[in-house]
């Protein structure tokens, strides 16, 4: 394989799942026995892309977007209904011994280690399964357990470890054979901030040092932002974005934050500033006007008024408004605002990947010209 040849290639992959449908009640239970009805769900729709060796790629999408299905196809657990997938030039679903020796799949919600045994016993078994020479095994186990800071826990029964410690052990088990391609399905799920950060540092080091190709799915945008040089976004089985995370935000796009003494409806602010209603959000009010929350334009049209600057104790409550705008348009928003409202505080923020992704999920599109 040449150095520039893709290590993963996916061409027009489609995956359909068929499942029985049952309505509520006894009658439908009998109906399911006698005349079952099935529906088809298209989890992936003609998805195509290639990945270069050594890449760290983020695969993101809302629940049910098809991320895990795609990972399962690439790892060889399920075949595509149509289309072709290839990993290191091999057809994943053939699951040849060569293929199994060089890939790894870590699913945050599926434990692979033995619940009642210490991790080191499970690792010994993996050493035998992958035929890792003793010296290499010791060296790798030392390296991985030190990097992940779990060396002192190797002799402890898995069931007695915390969720984060177990996840780290799972990761060690998945990496002991030094795979060339690693599929990580939500590896930081359930981890606290510190543990997630350590895991991210480790993955970055492993990717850079070992030139391993890593595909990561996560709902945690910190994972994507800090690790991935490329992002694939799936929406209801379709690939809607393929490119660098920086390309998701438009040139000069920013978020204007203003805290106003007075309370306004989103529509009033839109009329006043000329900004689209969808680009304005309010923080500090819930639809019933209580507590602090971040509400979107759709849910907050009455909320600002509902809050009307008073909380349940009758004290004045200051709301924060966000305008998705561009750096050039900030003044155009502020000037009319200053004529009708008292600005207590303001700032210009870079758009977070989180908010961009949320917008993409809700709108279902990316800016024109994005590489899809």
């Amino acid at each position: 394989m040449s150095k520039t040849a893709p290590i993963i290639s996916v061409k027009n992959v489609r995956r359909v799942f068929r499942s029985p449908q049952k309505a509520e009640g006894f009658k439908s239970t009998i109906g399911l026995l006698l005349n079952p009805k099935f529906t088809e769900h298209v989890a992936l729709k003609e998805v195509s892309f290639t990945i270069e060796p050594g890449s760290f790629v983020g695969l993101i999408g809302a629940n049910g977007a098809g991320k895990t299905t795609l990972l399962k196809i690439l790892a060889g657990l399920i075949p595509p209904s149509s289309g072709e997938a290839s990993v290191m030039g091999l057809k994943p679903f053939d699951r040849t011994m060569e293929f199994r020796h060089t890939i790894s799949l870590v699913m945050g919600q599926k434990a692979q280690l033995w619940w009642d045994l210490p991790a080191v016993d499970a690792f010994d078994l993996l050493k035998a399964i992958y035929e890792i020479p003793e010296a290499k095994y010791r060296e790798r186990l030392d390296t991985l357990s030190e990097l992940l800071d779990v060396k002192r826990l190797l002799q402890t029964q898995i069931r007695r470890l915390s969720l984060g410690e177990r996840m780290k052990m799972e990761l060690i088990g998945a990496l002991l054979h030094w795979p060339k391609v690693i599929f990580l399905d939500e590896p930081t799920i359930g981890l606290d901030g510190l543990a997630a950060e350590k895991l991210r540092d480790f993955l970055k080091t492993f990717n850079q040092k070992e030139k391993a190709t890593i595909i990561l799915t996560s709902h945690n945008m910190d994972d994507i932002e800090r690790l991935c040089s490329r992002v694939l976004i799936l929406k209801t089985g379709e690939m809607i974005f393929d490119g660098a995370p920086s390309k998701l935000t438009r040139e000069g796009e920013c978020r204007l934050r203003v805290r106003l003494k007075e309370a306004f409806k989103v529509e009033e602010l839109a009329a006043l500033t000329g900004a689209p209603v969808a680009s304005i959000s309010v923080e500090g009010a819930t639809p019933d006007g209580e507590g602090a929350a971040n509400t979107t334009a759709e849910s907050s049209s009455g909320s600002a008024e509902g809050a009307s600057g008073d909380d349940s104790d009758g004290e004045a409550k200051v709301l924060t408004y966000y305008f998705e705008t561009t750096k050039d348009s900030v003044l155009k928003v502020l000037q009319p605002l200053m004529t009708k409202a008292t600005i207590l505080d303001m700032g210009i923020e870079e758009q977070s990947l989180e908010s961009v992704i949320q917008r993409i999920y809700s709108e279902g599109s990316v800016r024109p010209g994005a590489h899809v």
């Binding site: 060889g76 657990l77 016993d121």
Partner: protein
Amino acid sequence: MSSAQAPARFSELATVKKGLHLEWRIAALRNGFLDATAYRLEFLLEVVGAAFVPAAIQWVLWYALFKIGGQESIGGFSYHQMLAYTFTSILFTQVRGGDHDFELMEMIRGGSLSNYLLRPAGVVEFVYMRGLAPKLFIAGVSLTIGIMASFFTDAVSGPRMIAAVGLAIMGNIIHYQIGSIIATLAFYWEEAYAVLMVKNMVVQLLCGELLPLSLFPANWEWVWKSTPFYLYVYGPTQYALGRWSNAEFVQAVGIASLWIIGLGILVHWSWRLSIKRYLSLGG
């Protein structure tokens, strides 16, 4: 052996182990044993309870029939022969297959099979090796008890006991093979529990653990002889007690070997075909 020859022998042994992929099998056996005995008291109670409660029930039954009911013999068994059958068969009942076919079915159903499919080791064999370890331990204990018993009674023969445990282990393999074929139904129906339960009930009846199969009417003999189940408990017990000749035993080993080969092919094909239906649910 000279000191220079010793490392060479070890190196040859390591090469053979590697060539036959014995290392992961040994490691799976070891971990399977450690896992089964992680809670030692629980393990002991399970083994002892499973062995002695049915034995006590059968003892009471035979006592009632022979001593209270006044029977001289039942199906050619005297009271003492029946007790010898009961206690010897219990040793082999402990060796016969466990519930690892249920485990396979649950793995298919719940999606945890995914964890094993990507390892460079056959999943069906891996689950078997893991579950075999405690059974091998129990087989060892049974063998020891049988050999010790042979010093005190003529009813059991030591060398025959060793050979009979070998046949019981072949029965254990057959039991798992049948179960792993049935477990593939879960790829199609998502559930194979009822079929596995029915199989286990038929096995209990036809393997000879409840009563000697010779008590069945003569014209029913074809029923239990057409299944491999009699090779699990009845066959080993009959041989250990000297009720089967060496020729009959060799024939039984031959039949067991044919079952293992035939079922091995069926396991391979049933999994090869069914795995295409795997949904890898969860996660």
